[in-house]
């Protein structure tokens, strides 16, 4: 038990140190690709040696020293190939000299690293992979496992990401103030994608990807510690905490999906909700509202309702109205339609769904939402059709099972002229909301 605990704390320590060490090495050698490999080597050396030899007094300096040595080896090998001995030996001397100096951590280095890994020139799959490795300190095997691809495939993805970074000649420095807003948006987007990958993927017993959500939260916390005054950074962290707080209630014993209005709210993580709520209230008081803050505020309203029926839908509808004006996100339009149905009745919601019908990015969610609203409006047969249509379009197995079961629940009722159009539906208490 103690061993396991210290093993876990060692892993956490190494992951936390990764971006700091890597940033130092990149700053010294200006070679992100090689520096990243060197740091991975240093991390695995630490994981092997520290449990036996004991933890060094200054772990960061130890890792930096080992990584520097790897870089020196790397430069030697390269130089043998390129025969640029004089230049290289000067570099080596410099590196060795630095390796023993315990330079103080430069806080912004981690942030620069994050900007680099989430550069807009990378595809999102590449940015996610390289961020998890370079900033998150995960091994290629761990990332591969999380995304259910072979390790060799993930290694390729990471190496291509590094080549793109190299080719685009992104300097290792803070983006200019002109670029800052746009670049920060890329970083937040990548972290949001990592979080969602872990949150929405619950594909059966064999595939657990919760770790990705926790990694995203960890990196978002790191970012927040570096930029506490950016309201959207606080907003994203709050959104993650407030959403993740419901994790235990989201799935049943067989990993079946349980929708928000039927979750056992006693399973929600109250301390985490309190933390997220505090974050988002503070951020919103700063007066620079953005999409992540709005989404976090909506999540907080759901989390604060003691029972589903007590959800403050009018406030949620107003927030989605604001959010809709800020972004062209199809999920926002969809949620806005549902919130509208909860406030103004299903017909109002269905009318809004008509406006966004046909958006291929959310085809199955549109059908599922339509099914839900048709059921609320009493159109049982219509609801069955759209639940099944949604089931045939989703690519998540638990979700498909859930949608098929919804359709089956409605079609089990014998069809007679009397119940063809149900006045109220047995499973949704907000019919008349």
């Amino acid at each position: 038990m103690t061993d396991e605990l210290s093993q876990r704390s060692l892993e956490h320590l190494l992951r936390d140190l990764t971006p700091q060490v890597l940033a130092t090495v990149v700053r010294r050698f200006h070679d992100f690709d090689a520096a990243e490999d060197a740091v991975q080597d240093a991390l695995s050396a630490a994981a092997q040696q520290w449990p036996w030899k004991g933890r060094p007094e200054n772990p960061r300096a130890w890792l930096t020293r080992v990584a520097f040595r790897r870089m020196v080896d790397h430069i030697r090998t390269e130089s043998a190939r390129r025969r640029r001995e004089s230049e290289v030996s000067a570099q080596i001397a410099y590196a060795q000299q630095l390796a023993f100096a315990d330079s103080s951590p430069e806080q912004d280095d981690t942030l620069i690293l994050l900007f680099m890994c989430c550069h807009p020139s990378l595809t999102s799959a590449s940015a996610i992979a390289i961020t998890l490795r370079a900033v998150g300190g995960l091994t290629t095997a761990e990332i591969a496992h999380a995304f259910l691809v072979p390790e060799a495939t993930m290694a390729q993805r990471i190496s291509r990401a590094k080549q793109t970074i190299k080719a685009s000649e992104i300097p290792f420095q803070m983006p200019t103030s002109d670029e800052r807003v746009q670049r920060l948006r890329s970083v937040l987007h990548v972290l949001y994608l990592i979080f969602n990958e872990g949150y929405t993927a619950t594909g059966g017993n064999t595939l657990r990807r919760d770790d990705l959500s926790h990694e995203a939260i960890r990196i978002a916390r790191l970012l927040y510690s570096l930029r506490p005054a950016e309201p959207e950074v606080a907003g994203l962290l709050a959104l993650m905490l407030l959403t993740d707080a419901r994790r235990l209630a989201r799935t049943g014993p067989q990993s079946e999906l349980i929708p928000l209005d039927r979750q056992d709210r006693s399973l929600w993580d109250r301390p985490q909700i309190a933390e997220g709520t505090k974050l988002i209230s503070t951020a919103m008081r700063q007066g620079s509202i953005g999409p992540y803050q709005l989404q976090a505020a909506i999540a907080a309203l759901h989390d604060e309702a003691p029972r589903a029926e007590q959800t403050d839908w009018p406030k949620i509808l107003a927030l989605y109205g604001l959010l809709k004006r800020m972004s062209d996100n199809p999920m926002v339009n969809l949620s806005h339609a549902i919130a509208s149905a909860m406030v103004n009745g299903p017909t109002a919601g269905l009318r809004l769904l008509d406006e966004i019908q046909g958006d291929p990015r959310i085809a199955h969610r549109l059908d599922a939402a339509r099914a839900h609203l048709l059921e609320l409006s009493g159109d049982r047969l219509g609801a069955i059709t759209f639940y099944r249509s949604a089931a045939s379009k989703t690519d998540n197995l638990p979700e498909r099972d859930y949608l098929l079961l919804q359709a089956a629940r409605l079609s089990d009722v014998p069809t007679t002229p009397d119940n063809l159009r149900l006045k109220t539906s047995p499973h949704n208490p907000h019919t008349d909301a």
Binding site: Q254, D395, L404
Partner: protein
Amino acid sequence: MKYMMLMSSTKAEFDAYVNWPREDLAESVSFMRSFAKELEDTGALVLTMGLGFPNEAKLVRAGADGDPVTDGVFPESKEFLAGFWIIDVEGPEEAYRIAAKASAGSPSLHKKYGSQPIEIRRLMDSAPQEWQ
């Protein structure tokens, strides 16, 4: 030894499945989950995946210029892969035993709907052996 177990159904069978009563559908979903869990617990499971429904399936061919030409119309009799398991077991007997479980489903489903054929195939993943 690694084996792939494939479960296929015709379009008509897929449509029938979707229209099963809720109780049976829930039983089937629950069986599939506990079956995967059992394979995982015994260390036999390598990978399992369910596939999307056939109405989303497409047949792709390269046209004269090499560009993709897609077709979504299939003959009624065509069988579609519904899902697969890859298992790592001692030998064929164990693989057949596991496949029979998948074929039957739960006892009540077996009684009501009969058994579902499972195609079982060897995976070509052994290390090459030197001839002596």
